[in-house]
Amino acid sequence: MSFINYSSREINCKIVYYGPGLCGKTTNLQFIYKRMNPEARGKMISLATESERTLFFDFLPLSLGEIRGFRTRFHLYTVPGQVFYDASRRLILRGVDGVVFCADSQLTRVDANEESMENLRVNLREQGYDPDRLPLVIQYNKRDLPNVASLAELHALLNRRNVPEFEASATTGMGVFETLKGVIKLVLGDLKRGGRQ
């Protein structure tokens, strides 16, 4: 549910990075934070454990310029990927406008990806969303590592909706902004249609 403030001429949208533990959700936000013009981004907040695993969420606000006189603001959130933080993941999905599913391309994480995608669908349904209609893009992260699954395999396992998909290496930044741009386009396209009922 996007929030449009006609008084301050602002459109606010919430984008959530979802995926299994250690797939690179926080690294995506850190790269965006580092590379964005400081005037276009706010402070990045990470509610993490002492070992830097996400405990509740990371948050990065971006301001991307104007469309038809409205300033566009995007609030990027990550969820904690570890299986036992499911209650937190459900809370963070509230009011979401678009999701980036960040998959870990390594062969050893194939099951974790599938489990997390299924968990996303269950949690979206619980929050009253139709998981087949919510704006979604998929990022195949860690493409720079050895022993990764092929794109065809990952596509077959995770992208049954045939949504836009991107190869990435969040540590080097490859594909990070392409993914962000992909989800923003879908979210704004959805806004054009007046949001989901």
Binding site: M1, S2, F3, I4, N5, Y6, S7, S8, I11, N12, K14, G42, K43, I45, L47, F56, F57, F59, P61, L64, G65, I67, R68, F70, T72, H75, A87, S88, R90, L91, I92, R94, G95, Q127, G128, Y129, K181, I184, K185, L188, G189, L191, K192, R193, G194, G195, R196, Q197
Partner: protein
């Protein structure tokens, strides 16, 4: 649950602002914020310049969401009032009309009791304005819904 966009128009925004300004004075608060449960700031009154309002809105929403999760675990719908006491400043958070969070920052010039009393009075007025805003939002087919592909592309040039 409806996931339609929420559109806040000028008259309702001004009405919310006027309630916040009165609350600020009546409660002897330093600053007052109105945030939606998704973490977006709607309006504020008082000296907000010293605060990172975007982060504050997001964390307030996270705070209410997390305690709401705790409430559910013990069979409560939510904990609708939270109070955080600091050495100098204190923060009072309360849920308004199921979808907003009213955040009040105050120091020793005020008290929890006074803040609670004033919040209770302001909450009913804020809820009434929100009901009008939501009805107007549902009926809205405004210009942002006529965005073209070219409009969206223009953001990335």
């Amino acid at each position: 649950m409806s996931h339609r966009n929420f559109i806040l128009r000028e008259p309702e925004y001004e009405a919310l602002l006027s309630i916040l300004r009165k609350l600020l004075t009546d409660a002897y608060a330093k600053v007052v914020f109105l945030v939606d449960k998704n973490g977006t700031l709607l309006a504020s009154a008082g000296d907000a310049f010293g605060f990172d309002t975007t982060s504050l809105a997001s964390l307030a929403a996270g705070n209410i969401a997390a305690t709401g999760g705790l409430a559910n675990l013990i069979g409560e719908k939510e904990f609708s009032i939270l109070f955080h006491e600091g050495e100098r400043d204190n923060m009072h958070l309360s849920v308004v009309a199921d979808r907003l969070i009213l955040v009040i920052v105050f120091d020793r010039r005020s008290s929890v009791g006074l803040v609670r009393l004033r919040v209770r009075q302001a909450t009913a007025r804020l809820a009434a304005v929100m009901a009008v805003a939501l009805a107007a939002s549902d009926a809205e087919l405004g210009e942002v819904e006529e965005l073209t592909e070219a409009d969206i592309e223009s953001l990335f040039r």
